[in-house]
Symmetry: C2
Subunit: 550 residues, 2 copies
């Protein structure tokens, strides 16, 4: 029995298009001799459909679409779909896997048992957990079907064991011939290797092959890496799908061998590819063709320009250089050099006069109050307004270029440099921005001028300004931010890591104070285990500080 | 036995301050002869603490604070707090009610059984449901203690019955002398009456008094109305706390009578008070004193100015009038008249020159492309930049004045009129804005010039512009938006309501397309059952349309 692992990139809610894609892959799988084709979690609706699930009409149409797919599929397929909960009590829906066999009118269905409700996941908002766990049957084989989180019962994942049931253990009692997990598991740095560890550990426990089929593609903040896996009964990877691209690989049940074995990229490369995937899909799924961004001469906008160019092609990337009186000659030269390297168009508009008129307009109010962040913010907002004008006039998507360290510290201007439809680096700490830039520059075209990488970072919003005037060095700041934002470390824990109490206290306070800015930030591509945005939900008006004595 | 219902306004996370407030109320209750004082759900941390709950240190400190309160309370109190889940499996926390009796070292604890996970509620993200449901004992009386949602098992609330257990029914088997529900139930229009219906229905079923103690105050988007209730064994209200204000009312168990009986305001008045409460608390809990807003001469900014003035006092409200070439003389006169009525300061800054320079700066790019929404947006963004400059320089909170109809239709400018720290009317449809203004003007000071109420609404961003050039009349638009946004009505359902297919289709498409704008909007005070923001989670990049054939 030959099984096709079909990692597709569905668009959220695009039922007909997703159905067509499923049937297209199914046909190819059939043509290549497969007896079963397997698709990711919620493959018909795309994952996550979020509050589209609250529209009853949407769920009804998705079930009609499932029926059409069932009628047309040339071979048995397993598809993720949204099912109604037919029990009179509970949440209205189930997250379901359906086995659709041509000629059999009834579906075999398994409902997801373990529903993630943490970080970016809200499944208990919509779904009732499955009650029955039982095998499916096709071609005389018995399959234990799991849906994503159903495989994460494993204790080593959790500080405290989350789930009362281990669905794989329950399934194992029926002695299936193999297991399938259909998944939509978002990328984060190093998560792939953890995922492999857990899946192989499961296989070593239950001693049967496990086919893991993961969604691929970007949906708003979330990036799904694909990299589907076929593990033989010993837990070895015998086939693996591409990363961040649609793919189909195969597993032969009798010989326990695979067809198609991609390698997962190294960490920095995987991050670069993830950002490309997130950018590319946001642009295309929102119906854009071209993007625009502001080049400052700094590393963040340089990296975003390069990423955009690598992803969308130079003809679809437009740069604006918007100098103020504080912009250095170097910044202009470096930006210019880079646009030549990348072969993208750059317009220059000076913001001097606008800045002057703003100051003049405000003079009757501000009188002789000294220049401070207000005037810095005005410059950033002039740039935001010019970039948005271009975006509005020509329909280009404005990319926001700020990084995670800035966003954490509020070292950025709301409605200024934070403007944009998508934040590319908003989950990349500054030190990672450097690592990504250096990695990209290790390719022979070396697009980013070395001076951009070497010079001390500056916002250039006042004379001789350097980031380090306001912030600790990024090599110190970033690990503290990681501990605090990603790992919820306490003050005591951070001091135990060797950081000064006063510094930790200051950083924590600044991060907390800037919740209001992040609340209004553009959607940010998520590449760590805790990105700002949908997966991090802090109150703005709140009084907790680490000094609270308890 | 005399019981005090203490509806307090905690600040999220402010453990010491909340503890002090609890002890203060407890002392007053004791002085007034009470034998038990009851506080709202999660009264120690404030509701909702959101991801503060992911900080273990925060939970530990809140438990230490609870211990301090226990040592100091002069009478038995029931307090809402966060408990650790001591079972080895499951979510790490419980949403708990604790009975703290002076001199008894052990707490009596009840964990919340029904955890809401819908709309603005994310309780399954943090909490494990309680397993045991049992009565508490104090003063020789047996009390059945419920926590908020525990009383909403009632079927008539749900299209599909949500919960498998009815905690009140379970408690009733132990035959308690009375019930207490500690709650944090956010305001929405008409929800108070539904709440009363459900609570009275429960009392009529279980035939024992029920004391309902609700949080009061605004926390970011959410506004809690208080209006705590004591229902005697027949389901009659014998005492009721104030709306939107801290209060203490009493119930005497033996005589089944109350002390303190406020009336709930009529719907429009309740909405006005809710907005005041949300604004007042956001300002004070974020540490602001003063606010600034742009006056346009239109009804939205007029109402916000009036609300701000009524709430914070005229000395704390600053208005900017920012005319462009398209601003009418009427707009100036009306704004001026209103600031005189309200006794607030107004500065005028013309945006003519800035607008000209922006256009000149962009001319090399735009050449002779015609004036369109790009140029309208530039005007709005100039105003946003000026208002934010003032906010930055003087530390005033900028209030965003847009309404829900605009936000739904994207008839507003991101980084322009959408700028601000808090959106006051973002959940008020335009027709409600009129109703609120007329209600406020029915008071004898009549602050809003009648012409503002009478004239056709206009953004004044191009010559002779009227909202109705781009939008259907609000009397038609608002009911369609309510059906679509609040009730998730399908196209067919909206047509059955009597609306034209083409109009419904157009509106639905525009609402969906503008998800990206709302993603970056300021936190919006919630006054309907479905506000934009934390309780409504739609994907941006998505392909579902009501034309999808299924």
């Amino acid at each position: 029995m030959k099984i096709a692992l079909c990692q597709i990139n569905p668009a959220i809610g695009a039922l007909s298009a997703n159905a067509a894609k499923i049937l297209d892959f199914a046909q190819k799988a059939h043509d290549l001799g497969a007896h079963l084709a397997v698709f990711p979690e919620l493959s018909l609706t795309g994952y996550p459909p979020r509050d589209l699930l609250e529209k009853k009409e949407f769920v009804e149409k998705s079930l009609q679409t499932l029926h059409r797919v069932h009628q047309k599929t040339p071979l048995p397929i397993i598809v993720g779909f949204v099912d109604f909960n037919r029990h009179p009590i509970g949440k209205p829906l189930h997250n379901a896997a359906g086995l659709l066999v041509p000629g059999e009118s009834r579906l075999q269905v398994q409902h997801k048992t373990l529903l993630p409700s943490y970080d970016v996941f809200d499944e208990t908002r919509y779904f009732e957990p499955g009650q029955k766990i039982q095998c499916m049957n096709v071609n005389g084989k018995k399959i234990g079907v799991l849906i994503c989180e159903d495989s994460w019962a494993e204790e080593l994942l959790w500080e405290k064991k989350q789930y009362h049931t281990n669905p794989m253990e329950v399934l194992s009692q029926a002695n299936p011939d193999f297991y399938i997990n259909i998944s939509a598991s978002p990328y984060s740095l190093s998560w792939f290797h953890k995922r492999v560890d857990i899946l192989s550990k499961s296989v070593r426990t239950f001693k049967k092959p496990l086919l893991y089929v993961n969604q691929v593609g970007g949906n708003d903040q979330l990036i799904f890496d694909g990299a589907s896996l076929a593990l033989n009964g010993h837990g070895d990877i015998v086939s693996q799908g591409k990363s961040f691209k649609e793919d189909m690989v195969f597993f032969d049940l009798e010989t326990q061998t695979g067809e198609g074995l991609s390698q997962y990229p190294q960490e920095i490369e995987s991050c670069y590819q993830a950002l490309q995937c997130g950018l590319s899909d946001y642009v295309s799924k929102c119906g854009f063709k071209k993007v625009v961004l502001g080049l400052s001469g700094g590393i963040d906008s340089a990296l975003v320009a390069t990423l955009a160019c690598d992803t969308l092609g130079p003809q679809n990337v437009l740069a604006l250089f918007l100098p103020s009186p504080f912009t250095s000659r170097d910044s202009f030269e470096d930006s210019k050099a880079m646009t030549i390297n990348l072969n993208i168009q750059m317009y220059t508009i000076s913001i001097d006069e606008l800045f002057k008129i703003y100051r003049k307009s405000l003079e009757p109010l501000f009188k002789d109050e000294p220049f401070n962040t207000t005037e810095e913010n005005i410059q950033a907002r002039i740039r935001g307004t010019l970039l948005m004008a271009l975006s509005n006039k020509w329909g280009h998507l404005l990319l926001s270029t700020g990084n995670k360290s800035e966003l954490a510290m509020g070292y950025c201007t709301l409605y200024g440099d934070m403007s944009g439809g998508l934040s590319i680096l908003g989950d990349c700490p500054k030190t990672l921005v450097y690592a990504l830039s250096k990695w990209r520059n290790s390719k022979k075209d070396k697009p980013i001028p070395q001076r951009i990488i070497d010079k001390p970072p500056s916002a250039e919003l006042r004379p001789n300004q350097k980031d380090e005037d306001s912030l600790p060095p990024y090599s110190v700041l970033d690990p503290i931010l990681k501990a605090y934002v990603e790992d919820h470390a306490s003050g005591a824990q951070m001091m135990a890591m060797g950081y000064e109490a006063a510094l930790v206290k200051k950083i924590v306070k600044i991060v907390d104070l800037n919740e209001y800015k992040r609340f209004q930030s553009a959607p940010t591509l998520r590449i760590t285990t805790k990105a700002f945005g949908m997966g991090r939900r802090f109150p703005i008006a709140q009084g907790y500080t680490q000094e609270e004595k308890g």
